[in-house]
């Protein structure tokens, strides 16, 4: 039991937050709860505090919509929250699609598909292109481009208000990630992930790597959905500064050598500067 907790503690916590947020939204529609009403696009916390998706607000701005005070406050709160705590915290702790793509990655690992299909035919910077294109289309057509195709809001809205064909979107993402591209949706395409990567670039909470403890087993790289952020493993003691890290903390759980841990950004920064000076100069 303690091994289970030790190896999966963050995974369990993440599933807990994802599912309880889902439940709060669902309860608002089904049973009239007032804790968290609406959905991930925009919601009302306790019926007073507005919360809005800043990326949706950006698209609305590009589309030429008049932005209301409530929307600006809501988007500001969310943007500030992720700016401080870590942009892609949303991706691994809130977003319902994460459960699907994690399942896909698990099955992929289980059947050893990565060994058969080693070469990844696509670049991870695609998400920034998609982000840019979404804003261009929003501007050109006067419509919130991603909001009309987003499987994230489609699935989340579907689970709260009635699914319709949104199960097809779930299935497609699962199969795409499983057979076409590893970490395909979350790690390559999703512009919301790209948006939060940019927002969270300078956030406070980061994963920190301690190279002295590292035995180079590379278990962390196997579980990481954004491998490229762990370039320093077994080489340098550095915090994972890339905004693309989703703070899912799977690397921390699988590490048996205590070489990875959460830390507050500024503290670790001073340390690393000191170490670098010693090593390099």
């Amino acid at each position: 039991m303690s091994i289970l907790w030790n190896n999966y503690r963050y995974l369990i916590l993440r599933r807990f937050t994802q599912i309880s947020l889902m439940l709060l939204y669902f309860g608002a529609n089904a049973w009239g709860w007032t804790i968290l009403m609406g959905n991930l696009s925009s919601s009302s916390f306790l019926g007073i505090i507005p919360l809005s998706d800043p990326y949706a607000a950006l698209q609305m701005f590009a589309a030429g919509a008049v932005l209301s005070a409530d929307l600006l406050i809501g988007a500001g709160i969310i943007a500030l929250f992720y700016m401080l705590l870590g942009g892609r915290l949303f991706c691994s702790w809130v977003c319902p699609i994460n459960i699907i793509t994690d399942a896909s990655a698990f099955v992929r690992e289980f059947f050893n598909l990565d060994h058969t299909q080693k070469r990844q035919p696509s670049t991870r910077s695609m998400r920034y292109w998609v982000l840019a294109v979404s804003l261009i289309i929003s501007f050109a057509l006067g419509i919130t481009a991603f909001e009309f195709v987003s499987p994230i809001s489609m699935v989340h809205r579907g689970l709260v208000f009635g699914l319709g064909f949104a199960w097809a979107a779930m299935l497609i993402i699962f199969l795409f990630d499983l057979f076409v591209l590893k970490n395909g949706w979350c790690g390559h395409i999703c512009p919301l992930g790209g948006f939060y990567s940019i927002i969270g670039k300078f956030s406070l909470i980061k994963v920190h790597h301690n190279a002295q403890n590292c035995t180079g087993c590379m278990d962390c790289k196997v579980v990481c959905p954004e491998k490229q952020v762990l370039f320093m493993i077994d080489k340098e003691s550095l915090p994972v500064l890339s905004g693309e890290c989703t703070l899912c903390a799977r690397c921390i759980e699988v590490c048996n050598d205590n070489a990875l841990n959460f830390s507050i950004r500024n503290l670790t920064k001073k340390q690393t500067i000191g170490e670098n000076n010693e090593n390099n100069e």
């Binding site: 529609n29 507005p50 949706a56 929307l71 050109a140 489609m154």
Partner: protein
């Protein structure tokens, strides 16, 4: 990388052009799709909704209006509904808008896609200023037009006698009965759809359509000369005079043009 140092610039440019090409192709398909799914104008929106075009770009699809509706009238379009996905709408034949006096669905809108000021009169919410659409009667299938007495829609209307009036006409077929024909007063109708819900025919003979779809427009150049109010539109009117090659001269000269040689 190492063996082809001189090729990196070439690679870089090629990569950028390829990415641009893929982005252009993807962006083209994406915008074509989005343009197509937002083209429908046949939806009835919640009270106080902005004009469809503005509504589509302002609505964030959060569903707070749906949660606020006590009658489950409002729904969010789901994938497969063939409606702009995630946006709220209602189908009056299933559940009409019951016109709550406090209009709970409107103030909860975080983005102003449901515009509270458009249903506020003298700084209080006035349910009668709502304009979701307008009821239209198909007099071919409405049994009142056949001569059968039915005033279901008239009775169901929350603005009884104002939005739907009953017009009495002689029934020439029997010679001794009257038609009691329902007539919608377009300017008063709010589009709540209680008439459509109440209609007794198999498929409703009175139904609500978005005003854009149901109504025509006479245009600025027709003015009711007998209506003092309407004539006021002339006060600030300006005329546009177009000068072409033949209208430079007077009409008479223009008509006689080319006849000069007759008098020679």
């Amino acid at each position: 990388m190492k063996e082809n140092e001189q090729n990196t610039r070439r690679d870089f440019i090629l990569d950028m052009v390829r990415a641009t090409g893929i982005a252009a192709l993807g962006g083209f398909m994406w915008s074509a799709y989005v343009d197509e799914v937002t083209a429908s104008t046949l939806l009835l929106r919640p009270p106080a909704a902005l004009k469809e075009e503005d509504f589509l770009r302002t609505c964030i699809k959060c569903g707070l209006c749906v949660e606020a509706c006590p009658y489950d009238t409002l729904m969010l379009a789901t994938a497969g509904d063939n409606k702009p996905i995630g946006t709220p709408y209602f189908v009056p034949r299933d559940i009409p808008c019951y016109m709550c006096p406090d209009i709970p669905c409107v103030p909860v809108c975080p983005t102003g896609a449901l515009d509270e000021s458009s249903v506020t009169k003298d700084s209080i919410l006035d349910v009668n200023t709502i304009d979701m659409g307008v009821a239209v009667i198909d007099d071919n299938s409405c049994i009142s037009f056949w001569g059968i007495q039915c005033d279901a829609c008239y009775r169901a209307c929350p603005l009884l006698g104002e939005a739907i009036a009953i017009k009495y006409e002689k029934n020439d077929r029997t010679g001794k009965h009257a038609f009691l024909k329902p007539v919608v007063v377009n300017d008063v109708c709010t589009g709540c759809g209680m008439c459509e819900k109440a209609c007794v025919t198999e498929k409703a003979a009175i139904f609500v359509l978005p005003r854009e779809v149901a109504e025509g427009r006479a245009g600025n150049y027709y003015i009711k000369g007998w209506d003092k109010e309407d004539e006021k539109r002339l006060e600030n009117a300006s005329s546009i005079k177009t000068t072409t090659e033949i209208s430079k001269r007077s009409a008479m000269d223009s008509l006689n043009d080319g006849l000069e040689d007759l008098y020679e």
